[in-house]
């Protein structure tokens, strides 16, 4: 294994501070202020938007490009997971059903 580098250790501690700073950014100041009403309403749409923004590119893109083939294990896994969710309403089942489709296609057929 490689040598531990002090500079890298400091960088990693700095990254942990970045985690704290971004995640508690609007918790830091205790001056009283509230978001305007439109922003508060808008934020109710933020959680689902954040999830979609994180996962959709991971489902339909490879190396930064939209996939050009339907022979991609992820598409079938997403379809299976979504179908499970609307059939049984369980997140755990969504994961298991999706992976049950994904792994054979991905590892078996190389999709």
């Amino acid at each position: 294994m490689n040598q531990t580098d002090l500079w890298t250790v400091v960088t990693i501690i700095g990254m942990a501070l970045m985690t704290v700073v971004t995640r508690s950014f609007f918790f830091l100041s205790s001056k009283p202020w509230t978001l305007p009403g439109w922003a508060q309403r808008g934020l109710h749409y933020a959680p689902i938007a954040a999830l979609a923004a994180v996962i959709v590119p991971e489902m339909v893109m490879t190396q930064g490009h939209f996939i050009a083939t339907w022979k991609d294990a992820r598409l079938f896994a997403v379809a299976a997971g979504t179908a499970w969710y609307y059939w049984r309403h369980g997140v755990l089942g969504t994961i298991l059903a999706g992976m049950a489709v994904y792994l054979p296609l991905h590892m078996g057929l190389g999709w």
Binding site: M1, N2, T4, D5, T8, V9, V10, T11, I12, I13, G14, M15, A16, M18, T19, V20, T22, R23, S24, F25, F27, L28, P36, W38, A39, G42, H44, Y45, A46, P47, I48, A49, A50, L51, A52, A53, V54, I55, V56, P57, E58, M59, M61, A73, R74, A77, G81, T82, Y85, H89, G90, V91, G93, T94, I95, G98, M99, Y102, L103, H106
Partner: protein, 248 residues
Amino acid sequence: MKRLFNHPDLRAGVSDMAAVAPGIAAWGLMTGVAMVKSGMSLIEVLLMAILVFAGSSQLAALPLIVAGAPMWVILATAFCVNLRFMVFSAHLRPYVMHQSLWKRMANGYLMADLNYVLFTKRFPHPGTDPAVIEAQEAYWIGNCATGWVSWVGASLLGIALANSIPLSWGLGFAGILALLGIMCSLASTRLRAVSAGIAGAAAVATFALPLKLNILVAIAAAVAVCLLLEKPSPASPAAPAAGTGDAT
């Protein structure tokens, strides 16, 4: 404190997160493997797994660290990749401002995407009476602790097993499926479904942006479109289209 640990909402927080923990764990596992494969030393990898607690920023930083990029570049990258959490902290501010600064920062540090999503799903509005505030704190602790243990525990396991689990298996996709299940559970109104559609499309369309800024653009686009499509609330006059104009 003891009351908080016996609170029924703590158990609810634990069980809501436990349902998605296998997906989070698979993701953490593969992040552990990726960290070892990058060529960092064992101490560096362990420190990162335990302290940084931000999967996308860890993965973004790996190639930069290995290439010997300047520290400010790596920290700026970590900051930008985490920008969506600033939006989340703006949302959660009214829920935490009664706490001390240290506690607020600790609660922020533990906030992963799913904690924010599950928490705002269970508590759409900040608590006003002490009982609700206590329930919210208990839920947050249970939810975050479960998430932290599954993520960090799985990362450590991935570090230990790095040479027997190839990245090519794609086990990390279970994490995406976990988020997919939660997304389906949130899509309970038409506008929420619209929000997901816009955000997904925008994130793909702007994927070429550096530093995962496509995620931030996608959230902004989805929120803006949903505000425009919303029926004007009875309190406000119907005339001005909901945009930035009625900001005050």
